[in-house]
């Protein structure tokens, strides 16, 4: 068994959405400026809202463009609207609205986007470009929590933070329950799940689960890999990346999204500007997703895209070989 950091205790599986539910209820109970903006896709903690503050539930229907700008209007008057829908609807459908009416004036609107890269709904809903689309927009903070505990803390943290935030909620496969209840979540800060010296896996969202499994596979082969949870994709924790590059010299990024514009590219930018080191980006290549069954024993899309623990472990070994080749050439 690998040696993990003190706030890590791996214990079964749990849905990220449950953590968001809990966090939303706690945040809404604490701050009465929080308003639930629904787009016909339910809302985390809706039961709490209906029971305790039914007037704070605003239903926009399937009109995401109007929902986003209307929320900006609420935020302009000092309220804190949370918009919840599928990621493709809440962000991509209302992309221009978010850019002009929310980000240009830096209104305090929180976007909660469900559904990650894989799941039964298929190509339209499995929105793999979402990080690339949002990462280029100024003023936006992007968070992709890795497990149920982190999701709860992330929702409470973004409610405290004043400014626009996009929170990605992985809806389909339940990730491992990774962190303990006293896990110190910090916006814009990476967390080292496991220390190591041979190579580093930087992961976000669901792929932290696969990275931890990969770490255990590599442990058996005698490779001591460092695992970093980069849950805030923007602003990226440059320090953690640079330190990892200097101390381990081989980096693999893992994300269940397009490798273009995602975590991999963000890390690549930091590496090439501050501390060049070999890098392999594990993610979905430049292609669309599709439907696939997700069950505990078989996850068809994970196999299709090559995002399993074995694939991450293989990439770590490849990256280490790359590092050796580079050393020889010098």
């Amino acid at each position: 068994m690998a040696k993990y950091s003190e706030h890590v205790k791996i214990d079964g599986n749990a849905m990220v959405a449950d953590g968001v539910n809990n966090g939303m209820m706690k945040a809404a109970a604490k701050d009465d400026r929080i308003i639930a903006v629904l787009e016909d896709m339910g809302f985390p903690g809706l039961g709490w809202f209906k029971e305790n503050a039914p007037e704070r539930v605003i239903e926009c229907g399937i009109a995401e463009a109007n929902g986003a700008v209307m929320a900006a209007g609420l935020a302009a008057e000092g309220f804190v609207p949370f918009i919840h829908s599928f990621a493709f609807a809440v962000v991509s459908r209302a992309c221009n609205q978010i850019r002009q009416s929310i980000l240009q004036d830096r209104f305090n609107v929180k976007l909660l986007g469900r559904e990650g890269a894989w799941g039964e709904p298929g190509i339209s809903h499995n929105h793999i470009e979402i990080i690339g689309i949002t990462r280029v927009m100024p003023n936006l903070v992007i968070v992709d929590p890795a497990d149920v505990v982190e999701a709860e803390k992330a929702v409470m943290a973004i409610a405290e933070y004043i400014g626009p935030v996009f929170l990605k909620i992985e809806a389909s496969p339940p990730p491992l329950r990774i962190f303990t209840e006293d896990y110190p979540f910090d916006l814009g800060k990476a967390y080292t799940v496991k220390d190591g010296k041979d190579a580093t896996i930087i992961a976000c969202g669901y792929m932290l689960t696969e990275s931890i499994l990969a770490g255990e596979l590599l442990e058996k082969e005698g490779i001591d890999v460092r695992i970093i949870n980069m849950s805030t994709l923007k602003p990226l924790d440059n320090e953690a990346v640079i330190r990892a590059a200097e101390e381990t010299g081989a980096i693999v990024t893992a994300e269940n999204a397009s490798i273009i514009g995602g975590l991999g590219e963000a890390v690549a930018t930091v590496l090439s500007e501050y501390s060049p080191a070999p890098l392999i980006r594990v993610g979905i290549e430049d292609e669309f997703s599709q439907s696939g069954r997700i069950m505990p024993e078989i996850d068809e899309l994970k196999t299709h895209f090559g995002l399993g623990a074995e694939d991450v472990a293989l990439s770590v070994k490849e990256c280490m070989a790359k590092r050796e080749r580079l050393k020889k050439r010098k």
């Binding site: 229907g61 109007n66 700008v69 609420l74 008057e77």
Partner: protein, 298 residues
């Protein structure tokens, strides 16, 4: 409510001053959204100099009336008024479109005092105004009980904390989001929302109804559950009367839409004839010369 002749003639004078300021802007920038700005002059003059509850010395007064200019490319008219109200210094008029100017090409809430909405991409203003109107409903709900008990009940019932005004262009109504917002406003009974459509019949590519049919326009708004009326958008008496009427209907649970029939490039014969959307170079100079001859120099 009948208004006396004095007010109307005062407003007409103000409208001429606003036009002169607009000519100063166009003359300096040699470019501008001439047609839409000129069709808007009387409407914004009536709003700013008579109707809106605003304090030029305190643009961020929480109880001011909000004006969302959804057709933000016609911000020249608003800039001309803000200068006249003393919100912006007069020198800024000649800096429109320039680097470092508080007068940005499209209205920007962060840059310019007295602007409530950053626009540019069309069709979003009505949603924003609906959000502001909804926020007013929330704020009234949350007023501390001590305050409302001091105030007679009819005051809070017939006077909102503030009203939310939106100015839409006619070509903008091709946008689907306008109708999303229209549905939303009806659903939440936003009777503090007053939408004014500057119906100047022309968009950039040609007549609005040929580019994409928006008629029957009044019936459209009616079927969405709005209170609708039509006015002549260049008749100050009609504008002032209808604004008062729409405000006094507060409490009926319906958002209000005022369709103002206007003329693109109103007052300047060459702009009227060409239905100028964006004027550049000689087109602008010719119009400015004609306008100055007609409405006087600054």
């Amino acid at each position: 409510m009948a208004h006396d002749e004095k007010l109307i003639s005062e407003l007409e004078e103000k409208a001429d001053i606003v036009r002169r300021n607009i000519f100063t802007i166009f003359d300096a920038s040699q470019m501008g959204h001439a047609g839409g700005t000129m069709s808007l002059v009387e409407i914004v003059t009536a709003l700013y100099f008579h109707h809106l509850k605003i304090d030029p010395k305190n643009c961020d007064w929480p109880e001011r009336d909000r004006l969302v200019l959804s057709k933000a490319h016609c911000c020249e008219a608003i800039y001309a008024i803000l200068v006249e109200l003393g919100v912006l210094p007069r020198e800024t008029l000649t800096t429109y479109y320039r680097y470092g100017s508080p007068l940005q090409g499209h209205a920007d809430r962060w840059c310019t005092q007295g602007i409530d909405y950053s626009g540019g991409s069309l069709g979003q203003g009505l949603s924003f105004a609906a959000g502001l109107a909804l926020a007013e409903k929330f704020k009234v709900l949350r007023q501390p009980p001590s305050q409302s008990s001091l105030m007679p009940r009819y005051i809070t019932r017939y006077n909102p904390l503030y009203r939310s005004y939106c100015i839409l262009g006619d070509g903008e109504c091709h946008e689907g989001q306008v109708w999303e917002a229209a549905m939303f406003a009806t659903k939440y009974k936003l009777d503090n929302l007053i939408n004014i459509v500057d119906y100047n019949k022309f968009s950039l590519d040609g007549p609005t109804n040929e580019v994409m049919q928006i008629e029957p326009f009044v019936d459209k708004w009616k079927s969405f559950g709005w209170w609708v009326t039509e006015i002549d958008g260049h008749n100050l008496r009609e504008i002032v009367d209808v604004l008062d009427l729409a405000s006094n209907l507060y409490g009926d649970g319906k958002p209000k839409c005022i369709i103002a029939h206007t003329v693109k490039g109103h007052g300047i014969s060459s702009w009227e004839a060409a239905h100028t959307h964006i004027g550049r170079g000689e087109d602008i100079s010719r119009g400015v010369r004609e306008g100055r001859a007609k409405y006087g120099e600054v």
